[in-house]
């Protein structure tokens, strides 16, 4: 079968991207904050509620050929929290919740990445919120793309481990202790 040369070139390009790894490995570095999302999901008296962190920034080093060498640091300024209501946002910044005056930023620093196969990786690291540092690990799915790759995952936290929601809020009766942090991080390839 005879194809015009341009189609063959496009096909070759598609194949190259499709087989990320090996000779065509792309190293990702810049976190595209505008295209990424970091949100959280919790339950309030049986009602599931979703919130977002409107601001965050981070570094992400990932080479599909050397996933063990990957590393990431993500920082979330907690004043950018969106709980869904203005009243909730004010409350979240208060001393009993995130105490953003004393601890303005939540930080995750990875310590290791383990391949799980099929573009899935187990990421371990330390999460610091409100001055409480905890070891966490969670699975991340890597989706390669022509101009950017995405890294999707979630981790479930117990808010009391971090002192989030103290005093009158500490009971799980109103706001559940379990909080799921859901992220969709988009990174662009490093400039060669």
């Amino acid at each position: 079968m005879h194809r015009p040369p341009l189609t063959r070139l496009a096909l070759a390009g598609a194949l190259a991207f499709g087989t990320a790894g090996g000779a065509w490995a792309v190293e990702y570095g810049t976190l595209d904050s505008a295209a990424s999302t970091v949100g959280f999901r919790f339950s309030q008296m049986g009602v599931t509620l979703d919130g977002q962190f409107k601001r965050f920034s981070g570094q992400l080093r990932f080479d599909p050929a050397k996933p063990e060498a990957a590393s990431t640091t993500v920082e979330v300024p907690l004043s950018g929290i969106d709980t869904g209501t203005a009243e909730g946002n004010d409350e979240a910044k208060a001393k009993t919740w995130f105490d953003t005056a004393a601890h303005p930023v939540a930080r995750f620093v990875s310590s290791g990445v383990k391949p799980l196969g099929a573009n899935r990786y187990e990421v371990a690291g330390e999460l610091t919120i409100k001055g409480n540092r905890r070891a966490v690990s969670f699975p991340v799915t890597y989706t390669p793309g022509p101009s950017a790759a995405s890294f999707d995952g979630s981790l479930t936290l117990n808010r009391t481990d971090f002192g989030i929601g103290e005093g009158e809020w500490s009971s799980a009766e109103i706001v559940a202790h379990k909080v799921e942090v859901v992220f969709h991080l988009v990174a662009k390839p490093l400039a060669p």
Binding site: Q44, M45, V47, L49, G84, T85, D90
Partner: protein, 179 residues
Amino acid sequence: MNPRYTSTAIALHWLIALGILAAFSLGLYMTELNLSPTKLKLYSWHKWAGVSLFVLILVRLGWRLTHPAPALPDSMPTLLRLAANVSHWLLYALMLAIPLSGWLMSSAKGFQTVWFGVLPLPDLLAKDAALGDQLKEVHEFLNYTLLALVVLHTAAALKHHFIDRDTVLSRMLPRFQKS
């Protein structure tokens, strides 16, 4: 022997009356509170009460449609009869519209209603803060309209009992003695 309402109609009338009084008072109180666990708990209770009342009112409406109310006294002027009929159906309409508006408001404000924290009701509206505020106005307006009608309803019942001295009120009162 003057005809009375059925025991079921009487029980539903007073149960719903107490429920509305409780949910209405709770609504007035909870909205004045600053954000606290108590406030969130009361909001949930208010919504649970609203859904429960909606179900009870549907049952009551079904009963009313299959068990006609006893006739009004022959002595009542036609215009007052008409007023009594209209205001009763308006009460039913409001009792259904109020919990519905609350449910829609909750969805628009981004909070799904989960009956007793267990049974999630679908969100008929997507989150929309401006629409949520409008529905709050609607919910309040319907409630104050209901309040005005309940005042009228109570005044009319008392007038029947103490001025007209007929059985319009007593036929809706629970009868505790054996007859």
